[in-house]
Symmetry: C2
Amino acid sequence: MRGRRTSGAVRPDDIRQHNLSLVLRHVHRDGALTRAELTQRLHLSRSTVGALVGDLAQLGLVEEVVPSGGERVGRPSHVVAPHAHGPYAVGIDVDIEHVTVAAIGLGGTIIAREVLPTSPEVTPTDLVALVAGALTGLRTTVGAASRVCGIGASVPGTVDLSTGRVGVAPNLGWEDVPLGEMLEDVADGVPVVVGNDADLAVLAEHQRGNARDCDDVVFLMGRIGVGAGIIVNGVPVRGRDGHAGEIGHNVLDPTGPPCHCGKRGCIETFLGENALLGLAGRPSRRTDTEVADLFNDARAGQREALRAMGAAAESLGRCIADLLNILNPERVLVGGTMAELLDLARAEVEAAVERYAFERSHPGVELLLPAFGADSALLGSGEIAFTALLADPR
Amino acid sequence: MRGRRTSGAVRPDDIRQHNLSLVLRHVHRDGALTRAELTQRLHLSRSTVGALVGDLAQLGLVEEVVPSGGERVGRPSHVVAPHAHGPYAVGIDVDIEHVTVAAIGLGGTIIAREVLPTSPEVTPTDLVALVAGALTGLRTTVGAASRVCGIGASVPGTVDLSTGRVGVAPNLGWEDVPLGEMLEDVADGVPVVVGNDADLAVLAEHQRGNARDCDDVVFLMGRIGVGAGIIVNGVPVRGRDGHAGEIGHNVLDPTGPPCHCGKRGCIETFLGENALLGLAGRPSRRTDTEVADLFNDARAGQREALRAMGAAAESLGRCIADLLNILNPERVLVGGTMAELLDLARAEVEAAVERYAFERSHPGVELLLPAFGADSALLGSGEIAFTALLADPR
């Protein structure tokens, strides 16, 4: 029963669009490819691949170039590469103290970026005004030869993918914000898609990063909040409302600390940045600087900082174990501030995973840092902005 | 990025097999359908549908019949129905005190079944011998006009789907049992597939039961152990090793009762049948009769029995809440003994879900009993036995 859905027969009409899309996806994911590589991968004839590449070139999406560099002798092979002046996506990563706006080309290259400081009190209106300014700046930087094909935004909160509405982004104090519509108002007709940061991070890592060619993977994003982006059978898990991955609100201990969500003892209250600062006896007013200082102190061996890391490592291991039991993924990527925690206390985290996971689910599971560091969610926001173009390049 | 995979171009050659498979799947899932209904559903021409139906009839898989009954006036429409003497699947449900072996026709109809008493100490060899006897009996009952197209077996344990090997079935005391191979030895060349009970239960309910047309659903199976069968985006979640759904081993309380898995405080130790008996102060030697008595006593208002149900309802609600947070499904089906618990203490279970779930994940989620009662896993074992035939009816 796996995979095939019992809806929609295949008709010859669908094939050309499917195959154009397929060629563009391969070039988008892998960068430059020779025609021979495309022919082999797609199990199509050379002439069919030639025609598809010709169509995509005419559409200004790819170009055939001689690769620069290389030491090969003889006539160099042309490669099919994303067009240098092809359309680009705008990716927006909304974080608590800054927002990043970037122009991202086919192939996932960041062409230009602007990082704008904000504050946890930023209103949606102020944020959209900042983004609008950055969009103008990026257009100038990229130049008029290229056009924007889509805008994607990453938000640390729950998002209704179909409407772009943010349900709740607790650490920004946002509730029921029509962010997609607000961005469309400054987007000059370019389509806008909004997603959750962990969902977008796993998308980018699955496409070209440390979850590449891995179809069962969880990206655990821990900044102030804790959430998971999940891919199963190669397909993102969103759930009924797009709220899948809210593992930060699984209760570790019903008598634990109060959570902003109204419950007590949620994983976030043991593992998020506020929890880390609290465990180390630091001020309850969290800032990026406070968090960075805590990690520096832990690396320098400061006792309270280390104790906080040890306790959080135990909770991180238990959280990962719960995900392993339910999803049995091949890899778990740990991002955000939790990436630093894993880096600092990997042995403790792995020991806790072993202690809490079902014995058959954890052996050999890889705990990895994201290939794109802090840029995973930003790059994922670019990916969703390219979705429409990739689905139908015409 | 959702859905489409970047591998495999579509060629016209694939289309006929795909469409034959599609027609057979529709008839298998929905029973008799008119040609007009098939034409409309598949967006194919009438003549194409006619040719596909003709091919399937020639293969002995479907037949066109005048439906019996009905009060309609005028010439009755012929319907395309599973062939009365078409191939059948054998489904096997291995439970702790009995094994059920059934002949299941296309369309999911149980044609005949044998229920054989066993014991928790049954060895794999003894069990396979029992099944072999039942297979012979079923062949006689069904008659020589039909052939067996596949055998599926459901086991309360972890299963490697690709090899049919049972990793661990703790309540049978089985570890690393090559059940698939052992069944093949008595199967006269018929292919054998083995699956986990919760995984198969959700499959059957998704196909024709209470998860029909619902692509994000969890089937929480609680007998002695507790496990989940999960469908996301319409596709079963198996994980890297086929062990997804082991939520019974998520730790509710690290200082809780010891679990057979070696940890303490797993959900199973608060929610399984042994836990229920223990909470009510009943003997630790669990039998089907003891469990049934406990539920009868609770229904009759016996105080200890009710207290046990109340405590287990709290744990069941917390377990469901954890699944809602991570997967945000549309429905949760509760099966096995836990179905009786939900039936008896729905208000308490729902209150606990509300107390523990992330506020945006639970409103409107339906908690349902399985449409097929205790037969969901059995019917699911029939479904996996039909997989090969449905994928390629030729």
